[in-house]
Symmetry: C3
Subunit: 284 residues, 3 copies
């Protein structure tokens, strides 16, 4: 089975290559060669929330049985647990138990969750090293799972509850005498293009009467302070407005998003993601 | 067959990993595993010209039958076509029809060009998503081609003409009573090292009487304004001049290039690539 | 066998993809497909010392027989030699002979070293290109070795001595009447997190009486000028001190290192790596 790796280690040094070497060593000892794909290694350092979102964004597109190893681990070496969870398609997610599995648990669900025995499943000879469990534990156990050398049920005892991040749900604000509005959060940016991704599903937009072709009232706030207010069109894609013009569109996860054709909405208006950011959308 | 991916998506988020998941899903359904290589995902956003050059720079080094999927697509979701082209070595290039194939068409040539039927060849279940054809169309059809699940001739109808970028050809300027000179453009930089790559083939340099070991008169202009003028040596490689000294050399595509030994010519003299930049080379 | 690539080329252009195409072409001609992994391509341009360290950091984790191709080659095209070295586990290292193998030679050792015949082992048709031996020589010969198409002993004549970088060894300073101290260098940073990695093995710390849980006197100098002095705890990992607090820990290569919990020690105190930097550690 494929092994998919995500970390906040970057690719400038040897950390990820050491993890891959360990994983290929496991495979070699079983006379296999393990296919490994990078999800990304550019999660901002320690940003568990962004990594949790990237898992949710990509895992459903991978075949049954894929093993995902995620290492964003500010608590490495402390008492925080390590976890492996399996979804109904047999995909397995191996990571520190620090919230990384929040969105997968909510939106896809797990059929089994195990606490990893960090002593039993450690790379032999690594007991003096305390700060690189990506190499010494996660890549090693992930490779054993992907190669069929370890079964999910043998990882460790069932873990009754995983650590969860606080998650905001988009909601409809009903205004008596006024049009209803949807308010949501900005879980991540579409970082390379500067589009602003909200957690507002397309269905909620429709519920307040906003459909493709309509003009939309957009308000973005940070810590309740208004940062952007404009009426812009809700269209299918960037090229439906002139270069440099703003648009509301539905992103690849079917959530309402804000963009600027061939430019960066986020950079232009100083918008970021995460705690404190809210977006309000409604008909004009 | 190998699948080679190029985009302007970057690798900081999950976009490329979602594409790879879709492609591996195609392979898995056929009881295969697809080898995938990244050409680059750091094409500057929307820079079709640079991506077109990178295809030309690398494709000839890949084996027959390799499938290249390129997604630099500012017009995603609009009426622009999608295209698949096959060269005489059986390499297939899948991309939006926006100029990405210009250099390959000019310098290598295609034996067949098809318009992709975007409805028929879409990832099942993706019809609500309009802004991520990299995942929903191009990775999916590229994987089917690479796995042998779809034949080139079944992609769609023959496309009589592809969209082309304007391309500048290097030319010899004949000066009565003076030495001839070659004038060319700067299609790209050798970005990591700051070398300046021109479109002037080594053969044109020789035609105006410049050979290894000679001194060369170099003039660089931007929008007709002179930005650099110096006489520097034409040598085989960087180490033939002292650290920090300038040189003319022949790059890996056999075009005249400008460098600074162990330093960045482009950064030092403020030189960039693309529209408006010209380079003039001639004997002293 | 696996091919592992490291360069200072970056991944923004087509250089690495051209190397991989050449390597896959070699494999294809032998009816094989070659598994290729990137160690890193973000070695700072021309930084042989950092690349040498990354080889040492990762190679021992890769299976026997892995072929490593490293191209950090400011002297490309000059008289500097090209080398292939084999360790006792049958791993082969192909690179310019400019110091890249220093740490491997010192700490792991080679059982054979060959000078590469640059004419005989060149990619056919590449003789006009002088500045891209990564594609025209190293990837080509590396792929032939990894595919079993070329045997180590046929690479070229035995090379009696490789080029070596100057290496600093950590040493104990014995102070009469005072506590002993260890003084070492900073070969690299843990770049993504800003931790400062020294060359001081944990065993030397213990020799001067510093053990987990102790307070440590830390002094960092650059060119003999003091840049940082503080007493901080020696703990197992980051989470053993509060956010933003400093710590001494043992890194994944079992060397003493300096960190700041969830922050960058190097950025905060302006510490870098390489020539001129020293670290002194001792009991309080």
């Amino acid at each position: 089975m494929e092994l998919v790796l995500m970390t906040d280690f970057g690719l400038k040094d040897g950390a990820v290559a050491a993890m891959k070497g360990v994983a290929q060593g496991v495979a070699r000892n079983l006379a296999q060669r393990l296919p490994i794909t990078d999800l990304t290694h550019d999660i901002p350092p320690f940003d568990i929330a962004e990594a949790a979102y990237r898992l949710r964004q990509t895992a459903p597109y991978w075949p049954d049985g894929t093993v995902f190893v995620t290492v964003v681990d500010p608590g490495v070496g402390t008492a925080r647990k390590s976890v492996a969870a399996r979804d109904v398609s047999g995909r397995i997610f191996v990571c520190p138990d620090n919230g990384l599995l929040t969105h997968l648990a909510d939106e896809i669900g797990f059929e089994g969750v195990r606490e990893i025995d960090e002593i039993a499943h450690r790379l032999p000879g690594s007991s003096e090293s305390f700060t690189f469990l990506g190499r010494d534990l996660y890549a090693f156990i992930g490779a054993r799972l992907a190669c069929g050398d370890l079964q999910f049920d043998d990882i460790g005892p069932t873990l009754p509850e995983i650590t969860r991040l606080e998650v905001h749900q988009a909601t409809v604000l009903q205004n008596s005498g006024l049009e209803d509005r949807v308010v949501g959060s900005i879980p991540v940016l579409d970082v390379n293009f500067g589009n602003v991704w909200t957690n507002i599903p397309k269905s909620l937009l429709e519920q307040v009467g906003v459909n493709f072709g309509d003009q939309v009232q957009v308000v973005i706030k940070h810590n309740e302070l208004e940062r952007y207010r404009e009426v812009i069109p809700f269209v299918h894609s960037f090229g439906f407005v002139p270069h440099g013009e703003r648009l509301v569109y539905v992103n690849s996860l079917l959530h309402a998003s804000l963009g600027m054709n061939c430019s960066s909405f986020a950079a232009h208006y100083g918008i970021s993601s995460g705690a404190g950011w809210t977006v309000e959308l409604g008909p004009v």
